[in-house]
Homo-oligomer: 404 residues x 2
């Protein structure tokens, strides 16, 4: 896409956010998080993006103003004195802040904005332009659920890199190699293909660089990671993903590794084995493929997100695997999949309580997995685009148990 | 160290935090951030650590309770219903919360805790145990400034890995290789040595995986990164660190790359060149070494942190390089160095306004650098432990302009 087409892409995002403000009782958004700033401006420099419900947005940049000016698709202005932010907004948007009457409601991402900065910004808006700072994170997260063709293209680029890297690294996956050693090979291939180095997450205290490779008992370790298999990790201060445990013959090797290209992430999981899986684990792996096929049949516009989880849970139960589904014991994760885009943990979530229905343009990672303590984790994960005709897989690695 | 010695290490941390509470007007700390949770418990599982000013702390764990129980050096309890957190604390700490009179003041890390969670926790404490949630981040950051012998050992392990990785990757740094390609080689060496994958940062919107490699004009690009040289990056959504620009003969190659081992990070910078640097850049590099030597002479207990920056700025001015010091034009960073430990951006900061004096046990990265727009960045960075006798360098790579 040329710069003019990209400018239209970003103009459409702003327009969609503006349309959503009135129903949410918001008069403006003050975007503070680097990922949301990129989503709304096209640049990821330090500062704030003010989007009024009507009129032109402004990207107030602390640093680098030069770089934001070159990159952004919206108007850029130097932030100036943060202490005078309220006064600056009042001067730049007299119609928004000068109307009198009920307090102007400005939404920010209270799901990620640190409390100190929230309290400070709330005070600056109150005293400087009489506005109230409220939670606008749901509006932003909702708008980001539906991806444009451009965004789907970026996710596909990440999917291609992830698939190529796996193909190149698989010949090095041999008995006795440690999870860490093989992950270093896989990450090397990902990095050379432009992986940014991190798969950004929105949730507090959660972090992923490329995902996890876990074999046998190490994969089945419970973890703080909010997913079905966090992995053993390198120690108490790095308590997820790979460990220094050598990979052994006959144990399942869970390869839940994605990457981030141009800001967009892909998530995929494949299961491998050196030799042959024990019968009950091979059967559980086959069940994960069946659950994925069943989920695909429901990945249609109009299906409530929660239904995907409820059905998968019932199918796991039928297979006699409910106790192993998405973790074990009190550390079972209670979802089947999650939205993905600029962040790994986007909306919607395929979980109980998420009653929203699927819509064309949503992109979801679906990841049925089964955990066997002491033995390992088996499963599969694809990322799909929801289209009017059903799901289109964006992940490219062949779908099969990888036998080495 | 065996487990008993480690238990003493963690007991000493708790005791120091408890002693600091009364002077800060705090009755307890509620630790919420994963790094602070590790610092206070020895485990990094999801949950909260409650540390009363007097008595035994409790690590309330959401997941994984099993893993926290195996790892932590303090008492572990299941978190149970978050909605009843206040009631749980009141029941477990009747002397703290049942005394009546003035509201009990509980400190949390409001510098990192997201506003949504801050508002929710404040409400839960108010209604459940009549306590007030206030900012305790300064207390935690202050306590973490002074490192124990154990912590210094962890930082030294990271320093050794960083130095070894650089030695192994340097032979691959050749004319025409892109920054990204060579970074992939360097990161491969770091990862194999146990680099966790991320160098954790505390500041909102800031991220480092291993640092930056920047050659020529790409290194001198202004960036959102809160340091002297962020780098060009891979695009607007990854706007720092390496780019796809080939490295050329005769231009400065800034290698500002560290790693994280067992949770602790090291930061170091070396400058390399293929062939020979132009005279003015060679002279600026020599100035950066002189500034580092001058800073070393002041890295003594009792020196105010701000003095280090003020002196370095004066020395840069004497050398006719004030305009190039720590960045260029309106994107100059206004510090000379920073504390480092579990996070890259710890206290103290060597900057104006930071009037605290150096103390034995502090660990600081000192990084005089000079930026030449269109030409590159030159400089050097070591990490030092402050001892009663002066600074001890923890970084191990030879200090010289690396000529290839």
């Amino acid at each position: 896409m040329d710069r003019e087409q990209l400018a239209q892409e970003w103009a459409a995002r702003i327009a969609r956010l503006q349309q959503a403000m009135a129903p949410e009782g918001l008069d403006a958004l003050l975007v503070t998080q680097h990922v949301d700033i990129y989503y709304t401006s096209g640049s990821m420099q330090a500062g704030y993006v003010l989007i009024p419900a009507h009129g032109e947005p402004t990207y107030y940049v602390r640093r680098s103003v030069d770089r934001a000016g070159r990159e952004a698709y919206i108007r850029v202005a130097p932030l100036g004195s943060l202490r005078r932010l309220g006064e600056t907004l009042a001067a730049d948007y007299p119609e928004l802040f000068g109307a009198g009457g009920a307090a102007v409601r400005v939404g920010a991402e209270l799901d990620v904005l640190p409390a100190q900065q929230y309290l400070k910004l709330a005070e600056l808006l109150r005293t400087g332009c009489g506005a109230e700072l409220v939670d606008g994170s749901a509006l932003l997260r909702t708008a980001r659920m539906r991806k444009s063709a451009y965004e789907v293209g970026r996710i596909e680029a990440a999917a291609a890199a992830a698939a190529e890297a796996l193909t190149h690294a698989l010949p090095l996956l041999r008995e006795g190699v440690t999870e860490l050693e093989w992950m270093a090979e896989l990450e090397y291939e990902l990095r050379r293909r432009g992986h940014v180095g991190v798969m950004r997450m929105r949730a507090y205290n959660q972090e992923i660089m490329t995902g996890m490779v876990g074999a046998g008992a190490a994969a089945a370790e419970p973890s703080a990671f909010d997913g079905p298999a966090g992995g053993l990790g390198l120690g108490p201060a790095a308590p997820q993903s790979v460990s220094r445990r050598p990979i052994r013959r006959g144990e399942p090797i869970l390869i839940d590794v994605g990457c981030c290209i141009d800001g967009y992430v892909i998530d995929q999981t494949r299961t491998a084995v050196i030799g042959e899986l024990p019968g009950h684990l091979a059967a559980a792996y086959a069940s994960s493929e069946r659950l994925l096929r069943a989920a695909e049949s429901r990945l249609l516009p109009g299906t409530p997100c929660s239904e995907l989880y409820v059905h998968a849970l019932a199918e796991a139960e039928e297979a006699g695997l409910a106790g192993h589904f998405m973790g074990w014991n009190r550390d079972q994760a209670r979802f089947l999949g999650h939205g993905i885009g600029l962040e790994v943990d986007e909306w919607p979530v395929l979980a109980r309580g998420f009653d929203l229905s699927l819509e064309p343009g949503m992109v979801l990672a679906v990841e049925p997995k089964f955990t066997f303590p002491g033995e390992g984790v088996v499963g599969i994960e694809n990322t799909y685009l929801i289209t009017p005709q059903g799901p289109r897989a964006l992940t490219r690695s062949p779908e099969r148990l990888i036998v080495l």
